[in-house]
């Protein structure tokens, strides 16, 4: 067939049926394809069907989730995923959380995965349900979080017909997932779901999306679930390298031996590999201080003598200073993101770099390195530690003294350390440090995005791995409350605190009702500066104080919480903070504290985008009030 643009329509051919003859509105009527389309259309219109308890595709989904150990998932029903809801009642072991928006479901699965190390699961229907999941899937991709997102799609015969609530979600998630599937046949479901979980959690973790047509969910099937070996055998193109090359390890050991001013840069990969103990053992044996990325918060207890702190754009000055003067960076499970390096040309100018990552594509992507090592952070550390000589801390005395002096200067000179905040005004860093203190540093702390995220990472005082949840890569505002929902369900043994600004909170606070309905005990610390704080900070410093859209109106949050049936407290002065936190801790169930913080506090130091780690801004004239 030739399709031509711009030519005028031809007159009807003489063989076309005369208008008098009865016309069918079905394209290609009489063919089997057309019959299938019609049948599917009727099926869509007549949802009600007798309950059929033979095993159908929807059963396979539930069975597979249970086999994978997913005890909870976050979902929202809709037309084409209703077959699944039709059988859900038969699987009481599967806890279904009815979210109020699919984005909340995806973030909740993400938060669950980050604190448990297991795969989080979210679901939605076709069309808008699926597109609402997309922000959450992107968040998981950029932070390498293992989630499986399942969506329904229109019956396979209707695909491509622009059916009701049809969108090419497979095409949308293709570049933002580790892998994705479109399933049209229930017989494929056991294999696909098993593969999806395997891919999501193996190697560098990441999100996997499965799109299932409605007819596949309804189709009877006897297909059996594959064994783990069958899953691996069926994925010949997916064989992540977990063990490092021995020659590279020897080179790394040699670099470590030569280094006089080494620094370990630890990231999220160490948490993924559950290698926090291995990291500490390695650092202690080699006597190398550990700096961490934003997502690496928790890799080492911050009170450990070798923990040096948080690096990067809003990291500690002493940490960035140490990186800039280091002669060796041992980077593990981190990817030299631009928020970490700033201008690469001036980054760590004296340092040779050993870069350990499970994803070969991360090595040499942003920064040229001297010793690349591909492997799982835990396995690399366990293999490398016996190969290096134990270092006597005395031999590093000069180095350590200098680091200690820098640290003292940097921490003491910060707003937080100096306590220079104007008297009587509530500063965010103070609130965050009190939350850390009063929870004994043992809670899960979930950040939103912006100033609150930086204050949390800097001043809480983290002790435990996987106790800090933050959207680092995608920087998704509105992440905190829904992610905390998943985190609280994943780790019910810990208190869960959602730290959020008034901007991010207003993006996703519909999930408050989910917290109430499912009695999920999230404690929300709302930092209300009546601003989009980080926007305001950038506009002040980089855009010459041109505050467009930085001011943000908000509701009366006490009334808002009351409307949801959530006990809420308010603090506007430093001496009210502890009482408010203790009152929230006493609540059994979700609760909210409204902290009316200073309106124009900045996060310092700050590295302006495009500048280097040595170009930190630490003060701004008139900015700090």
């Amino acid at each position: 067939m030739t399709m031509t643009k711009g030519t005028s329509a031809k007159p009807p051919s003489p063989t076309a049926p005369s208008p008098a003859a009865r016309r069918s509105h079905v394209p290609a009527d009489g063919t089997s394809g057309a019959a299938a389309v019609e049948a599917a259309r009727k099926e869509m219109l007549h949802e009600a069907r007798p309950r059929n308890r033979t095993r159908i595709g929807a059963d396979v989904v539930c069975e597979a989730l249970l086999r994978q150990g997913a005890d909870v998932f976050f979902s929202y029903p809709g037309g084409v995923i209703l077959p699944l809801y039709d059988v859900l009642g038969d699987y009481p072991e599967l806890r279904h959380i009815l979210v109020r928006h699919e984005q909340g479901g995806a973030h909740a699965a993400d938060g669950y995965a980050r604190v448990t190390g297991r795969v989080g699961v979210c679901m939605g229907t076709s069309g808008p349900g699926a597109t609402n999941l997309v922000t959450g899937i992107g968040t998981a991709l950029l932070d390498s979080v293992p989630i499986v997102a399942i969506t329904g799609n229109v019956p396979s015969a209707l695909i491509g017909k622009d059916a009701f609530q049809e969108i090419d979600i497979n095409g949308i998630t293709l570049p933002m997932t580790k892998h994705n599937y479109l399933v049209r046949d229930a017989d494929d479901l056991p294999r696909v779901i098993a593969e999806a979980f395997h891919i999501a959690r193996t190697g560098r973790p990441g999100p996997v999306h499965i799109d299932i047509t409605k007819d596949a969910l309804q189709q009877e099937t006897t297909a059996e679930h594959p064994t783990d070996e069958e899953v691996v055998a069926g994925l010949p193109g997916f064989r992540p390298n977990l063990d490092a090359n021995g020659r590279q390890l020897k080179l790394a050991a040699q670099e470590l031996k030569n280094a006089k001013r080494p620094m370990i840069l630890a990231g999220h990969g160490v948490l993924h590999a559950e290698a926090w103990d291995d990291l500490v053992a390695f650092a202690e044996k080699t006597q190398i201080p550990v700096a961490h990325t934003l997502l690496g918060v928790g890799v080492i207890d911050e009170t450990h003598p070798l923990s040096y702190g948080y690096m990067g754009m809003h990291g500690w000055k002493h940490v960035n200073r140490a990186i800039q003067s280091a002669d060796l960076l041992f980077a593990i499970g981190m990817r030299f993101d631009d928020r970490v390096t700033g201008n690469v040309r001036t980054y760590a100018p004296y340092a040779r770099i050993v870069h350990v990552d499970i994803d070969p594509a991360e090595i040499g992507k942003n920064v040229a390195v001297e010793v690349p090592i591909v492997g799982d952070a835990g396995r690399v550390l366990r293999a490398l530690t016996p190969m290096v000589d134990a270092v006597d801390p005395e031999t590093r005395a000069e180095y350590f003294n200098e680091l200690a002096a820098w640290r003292k200067e940097s921490e003491g000179g910060s707003w937080h350390g100096s306590g220079a905040w104007r008297e009587g005004v509530l500063s965010a860093d103070y609130v965050v440090s009190r939350i850390g203190e009063l929870t004994d540093h043992k809670a899960t702390y979930v950040a939103d995005v912006g100033q609150n995220q930086m204050w949390l990472a800097r001043y809480t005082g983290f002790r435990d791995p996987n106790s800090h949840v933050s959207s680092g890569g995608l920087g998704t505002m509105g992440f905190s409350v829904p992610a905390a929902m998943g985190a609280a369900l994943g780790r019910p043994d810990r208190e869960t605190w959602a730290i959020t600004g008034d901007g991010g909170f207003q993006m996703t606070f519909q999930e408050l009702m989910t917290l109430v309905q499912d009695r999920i005990p999230v404690k929300i610390a709302l930092f209300d500066n009546k601003k989009l704080g980080m926007i305001r900070q950038w506009q002040e410093i980089i855009y010459a104080g041109n505050y467009h859209s930085a001011h943000l109106l908000g509701p009366d949050y006490l009334k808002l919480a009351e409307a949801f049936g959530i006990p809420a407290f308010k603090a506007t002065k430093p001496d009210e903070v502890d009482d408010a936190i203790r009152a929230a801790q006493a609540v059994d169930g979700p609760t909210l504290i409204w902290f009316e913080i200073a309106e124009e506090q900045n996060v310092f130091p700050m590295m302006p985008a495009g500048k280097g780690l040595s170009d930190l801004i630490e003060k701004w004239d008139g900015a700090d009030e």
Binding site: V344, G364, K365
Partner: protein, 219 residues
């Protein structure tokens, strides 16, 4: 704020034992060149700042729905510019082979190959640019050829070891096969007569010798 990387961080220990990263690369550990205490180090080398040249990647992929979309989508998203991409089946029923040519420096193309490896359906990627290879391309050219010029055009086709596949009143269709540069030359040669249509397959490339990229992934 200055661009001086030392404005916050001092030279390590004040002893000036820092070394330029560019001078270090390749140098054996321990032979670190000395630096003057006050000298700023040269800028760190960026990955991918090298000389641009044409690269050829061969990718062996599983013949799954959407695999071509995955490959092309990845190249677009990662900011690599594909010159040509040829896909076909191989002798293994569920395996396809892609020949991708692209411009970039060695590091950027290595990065492209590593990114391709991340795709679950990709079995093997090889940069054959510096290997001894055979690269062939096929082109069909519809050339304007009137009675007056037909003879000349036919002669050119013959001399270029092409074949004439169709002759019409005003034109002929010629097929030329060969390395990309031969096809370029032929197209340039007949351009003066008027090219009405041109279609090229893009290069398909195979390494010389007995080694086989496909056997490496045989299951």
């Amino acid at each position: 704020m200055s661009g001086d990387p030392n404005s916050n961080g001092r030279v390590p220990g004040g002893t000036g034992t820092g070394a330029s990263p560019s001078a270090q690369s390749g140098a054996a550990p321990g032979i670190i060149p000395q630096h003057a205490t006050h000298a700023a180090p040269p800028p760190r080398a960026l990955p991918g700042g090298g000389e641009l040249r044409r690269h050829t990647l061969i990718a062996i992929v599983l013949d799954k729905p959407g695999v071509l979309n995955r490959v092309s989508s990845l190249m677009r998203a990662r900011n690599f510019n594909i010159d040509s991409l040829a896909v076909s089946r191989t002798d293994q029923p569920d395996v396809s082979r892609m020949t991708i040519t692209l411009h970039g420096d060695d590091v950027a193309v290595e990065q492209a190959a590593k990114q391709l490896y991340r795709l679950i359906d990709v079995l093997k990627v090889q940069d054959v640019t510096s290997e001894s290879t055979i690269g062939q391309e096929l082109a069909l050219v519809k050339i304007r050829a009137t009675e007056a010029t037909r003879g000349e055009v036919l002669k050119l086709v013959e001399l270029s070891k092409g074949r004439v596949l169709d002759v019409a009143d005003e034109s002929i269709v010629a097929e030329v096969t060969g390395p990309e540069s031969d096809v370029d030359n032929f197209v340039a040669l007949v351009r003066g007569y008027g090219i009405k249509e041109l279609v090229r397959t893009g290069a398909v490339v195979m390494a010389r010798g007995s080694a086989s990229i496909e056997e490496a992934v045989k299951r």
